[in-house]
C-alpha cells in the first residue's frame, strides 16, 4: 500500500431506505487509470460521486464507511468539501460547459480559488489547461466565443480543461464518452492516456472496450457490490469470478 491515493473501506450508500452500495472497499493507486464497469444501476456512478462528495447534492442520500484520500478521511462532517473538490476534478456524462465564453469556462475555477494574481497568470493557466486537454489549437482564435458553440467532443474536452485548471490530483470521469461519436471518443481516450502521467484517473464506463483500452485497473460492480477488482488485463482475459466472466463476455448486463 505504498502509493495508494484513495482508500475506500466498507462504503455503504443508501438512497432513502434503499441501499445502493454494499460495503465497497477499494484501493486506488496514484497516477493510474482505474475503470469502474458494470451493468446499469450497479452503483458505479454512485461510488464515483462519493469520492468528491457530489452525493451531498442528493438530499436523501446517506453515505457511511470510510474513504481516505491521501490518508485523510473525507466521509465526515468535518471534511472541507470545497477544497476536496478542488483537489478532485470531475467530468460528467453529458458535457456541461457554462453558458459563458471558452476562456471564462476554464478561468472560472482558478478565479474562485484565487489561484491567480494577474490577468497574465490567468491567461497562462487557461492556455496551458486547454493545451493539456488537447483543445488549444482548435479554439485558440475564438476563446471569446461561447463554450456551448463547440461540438460535443470539444465541449467534453473543454470540461476536462476546466477540471484541470484548478490543478487537481485526481480526475473523476462519469461515462465521459457516452454522448460522443467514435472519433471524439477516440480523441478523449488518447487524452486520458496522456493525463495519466500527471493525474490519478477514475473512469466509469459502459464500454468494455474502452475500459480495456484506457485503464490499468478495472473494478467490476454488480447490484451495489464490488465483485472483482484487479489488473485490467487479468479481468478481461482471466477473471476469477463467474459473474465478471459472464458480464465481459456479454451474457448479461
Amino acid at each position: 500500500m505504498s502509493n495508494s491515493k484513495i482508500l475506500a473501506n466498507g462504503v455503504d450508500v443508501y438512497y432513502g431506505s434503499k441501499q445502493a452500495l454494499f460495503g465497497i472497499s477499494m484501493d486506488i493507486k496514484e497516477k493510474e487509470v482505474t475503470a469502474l464497469i458494470g451493468p446499469s444501476g450497479c452503483g458505479k456512478s454512485t461510488f464515483l460521486r462519493c469520492i468528491n462528495r457530489m452525493n451531498d447534492l442528493i438530499e436523501i442520500c446517506k453515505v457511511s464507511g470510510s474513504i481516505k484520500v491521501d490518508n485523510e478521511e473525507i466521509i465526515s462532517e468535518k471534511t472541507d468539501v470545497v477544497s476536496l473538490r478542488s483537489k478532485i476534478g470531475m467530468v460528467f456524462q453529458k458535457p456541461n460547459p457554462f453558458p459563458k465564453s471558452i476562456f471564462d469556462n476554464v478561468a472560472y475555477g482558478p478565479t474562485i480559488h484565487g489561484l491567480v494574481d494577474s490577468k497574465n497568470d490567468l491567461e497562462e493557466i487557461v492556455h496551458s489547461s486547454l493545451k493539456k486537454a488537447g483543445l488549444f489549437d482548435e479554439v485558440k482564435d475564438r476563446l471569446n466565443e461561447p463554450g456551448t458553440s463547440l461540438s460535443g467532443g470539444q465541449q467534453q474536452r473543454l470540461c476536462i480543461a476546466r477540471a484541470i485548471a484548478v490543478n487537481p490530483e485526481i480526475i473523476l470521469m462519469d461515462e465521459p464518452c457516452s454522448a460522443l461519436d467514435p472519433i471524439a471518443t477516440a480523441i478523449i481516450e488518447e487524452l486520458i492516456d496522456d493525463l495519466r502521467l500527471n493525474y490519478t484517473i477514475i473512469i466509469v464506463t459502459h464500454s468494455m472496450q474502452q475500459a480495456a483500452r484506457v485503464s490499468q485497473k478495472t473494478c467490476f460492480f454488480h447490484l451495489g457490490e464490488l465483485i472483482e477488482t484487479g489488473e485490467t488485463n487479468k479481468i478481461f482475459t482471466n477473471p476469477d469470478n463467474t459473474k465478471t466472466q459472464d458480464y465481459i463476455t456479454g451474457r448479461f448486463g
Binding site: L57, R85, G89, N96, F98, P99, T148, R162, A163
Partner: protein
C-alpha cells in the same frame, strides 16, 4: 372477425374520425374569431371615443395689454409683472369679443372660455413683455362645452334647458366658426397637466407620474425580496413540512383578492405605521405585497428550469454553494424572472381597488414629484373620470385608457426584449 370485415370497420370509423377532426378545427377557429372580434370591438370603442381628447379647441381673442389696466409700466420688474392685473385685461377682452355686447351677453360669452384663459394671457405677456400697450391676437383655450359641441360629442337638437350652451351661446359659437376665430389643435394639456375640475385643462400627467412612482416602489420593494425568497426556497431551504407550507401559501397569496391587500395597507401602513396617505410610497408597498408571489413563482420556475448540470459543473470545480448559485444559476434564471417581474408590474399598474383603500382616489390637481407626495394613479384616474357627469371627461377617460394600454404594451415589449437579450442557450 375476418380480415375484410375489420377493414370495413376501420374505413367506416375512419370517416367518423376525420369528421371529428374537422369539427374540432372549426370549433377552435370560431372561438378564436369570436375573441378576436370582441377585442377589436373593445379597442374600436375606446379609440373612437377617446381620440378626440387628443385635440382641444382654441379661440382667437384680441387682448389689449394696456399699461393702465395692467397697472404696470414698461420698466416694471419681473416680480411686478407677475402681479399684473391680467384678469382685468381678460375682462376687457371678453367685453369687446363681439361688438355691442349687453351685460347679460357678456356673462354668456365669458362661459365660452376656459378658466385657464387668465393664465394664458399672463404667460403670453411674461414671455413677450414688449407687447405692453399693444393689442395682440392670442389663441386661448375654449370652455369644454364649446369643445364638446364642436367635436360633435354634445348635441344641439336637445331642448335648451337640457343643454350646457343656450341658443344665444350657440349662435356665438356658429359666428366664431364662420369667422374662423376658432380651431382645433393638439391638446398638450392632456399630457402636461394633472387632474382638474375643468375637463378642458385636465390631463394624465399627474396620474401617470403617480403610477410611475408607484411602480418604482413596487419594483424596489418586491424584486430583491422575491429573488432572495425564491433562491432560498429553491436552492438552500431544506425540504420539510415548514418549507412545504410556505410554498403552498405563496401560491395562495397570489390568489388573494387585491382589495384585501388594500385593507392591509389601510390598517397597518396608514393607521399603525402612520405613513402618509394617498402616496405612491404606500400604494407601491401594498402593490408590492400583491406582486411578490407572482415574481416568486416566476423566479422559482426559471430557477427550476436551469439544468442541474450547470450547478454540478460549478460545484465540481470547487465553487461554494453560494458561488454556484449566484454565478451560474441566478444569471441563467434572470430572463424568466424579469419577464415574471414585468408581468407582475403590469398587474400592479392596472390595479385600482387597493389604491382606493389607501386613499389614492383623492382629487390631486398637482403633478407629484416624489414618493411621499399625494398623487393619483392611472387606473384610479380613469375611474374618477368615468364617474364624472361632465361630457368632457368621457373622452378623457377613454384617452386615459389608451395611455394605460400603451404603457402596458411598452412594458410587455420590454419584457420580450429582455428575454431575447439575456436568454442564453446551454
Amino acid at each position: 372477425m375476418n380480415n375484410s370485415v375489420a377493414k370495413e370497420k376501420i374505413i367506416s370509423l375512419r370517416k367518423k374520425r376525420s369528421l371529428e377532426d374537422m369539427r374540432f378545427k372549426y370549433y377552435g377557429f370560431t372561438a378564436m374569431c369570436l375573441s378576436l372580434a370582441v377585442l377589436v370591438f373593445l379597442l374600436y370603442t375606446i379609440f373612437s371615443k377617446g381620440y378626440t381628447a387628443f385635440q382641444k379647441t382654441i379661440v382667437l381673442l384680441e387682448v389689449d395689454y394696456d399699461q393702465e389696466v395692467l397697472k404696470l409700466t414698461p420698466d416694471s420688474s419681473d416680480e411686478e409683472m407677475e402681479k399684473g392685473k391680467f384678469f382685468r385685461v381678460k375682462k376687457q377682452a371678453i367685453e369687446n369679443f363681439f361688438p355691442d355686447l349687453s351685460k347679460s351677453d357678456i356673462k354668456l360669452v365669458k362661459k365660452l372660455f376656459s378658466i385657464n384663459v387668465d393664465n394664458e394671457i399672463k404667460h403670453y405677456f411674461l414671455d413677450n413683455p414688449e407687447v405692453i400697450n399693444t393689442k395682440q391676437q392670442i389663441w386661448v383655450t375654449a370652455h369644454s362645452d364649446v369643445d364638446q359641441l364642436l367635436k360633435g360629442n354634445s348635441r344641439r337638437d336637445v331642448p335648451e334647458d337640457r343643454r350646457k350652451l343656450n341658443d344665444i351661446q350657440l349662435s356665438y359659437v356658429d359666428q366664431l366658426v364662420e369667422e374662423k376665430r376658432v380651431k382645433q389643435v393638439f391638446n398638450n394639456f392632456f399630457f402636461t397637466k394633472a387632474d382638474s375640475r375643468h375637463p378642458e385643462i385636465a390631463g394624465v400627467a399627474g396620474s401617470f407620474m403617480g403610477s410611475l412612482f408607484t411602480l418604482f416602489t413596487v419594483f424596489i420593494l418586491s424584486f430583491p425580496v422575491a429573488i432572495g425568497a425564491s433562491v432560498y426556497l429553491e436552492e438552500f431551504a431544506p425540504k420539510n413540512r415548514i418549507t412545504e407550507l410556505i410554498e403552498v401559501n405563496i401560491s395562495n397569496l397570489a390568489a388573494v383578492p387585491s382589495i384585501v391587500f388594500g385593507l392591509l395597507g389601510l390598517g397597518v401602513l396608514l393607521n399603525v405605521f402612520g405613513l402618509p396617505r394617498s402616496t405612491p410610497l404606500v400604494g407601491g408597498s401594498v402593490l408590492a405585497l400583491m406582486t411578490l408571489p407572482t415574481i416568486i413563482i416566476a423566479c422559482r420556475a426559471s430557477l427550476k428550469a436551469v439544468p442541474p448540470s450547470i450547478k454540478e459543473g460549478a460545484l465540481a470545480v470547487g465553487a461554494t454553494k453560494t458561488q454556484a448559485v449566484f454565478h451560474h444559476v441566478v444569471p441563467l434564471a434572470l430572463p424568466g424572472t424579469l419577464t415574471g417581474t414585468i408581468i407582475g408590474l403590469a398587474q400592479a399598474l392596472g390595479e385600482t381597488a387597493p389604491l382606493i383603500m389607501i386613499g389614492m382616489i383623492a382629487f390631486i390637481p398637482n403633478i407629484p414629484t416624489g414618493l411621499t407626495e399625494p398623487s393619483a394613479a392611472l387606473p384610479v384616474q380613469i375611474y374618477l373620470w368615468v364617474e364624472s357627469a361632465e361630457r368632457g371627461f368621457q373622452e378623457k377617460s377613454a384617452a386615459a385608457i389608451m395611455v394605460i394600454l400603451i404603457f402596458l404594451f411598452m412594458m410587455n415589449a420590454i419584457a420580450v426584449f429582455l428575454r431575447n437579450r439575456f436568454e442564453r442557450k446551454w
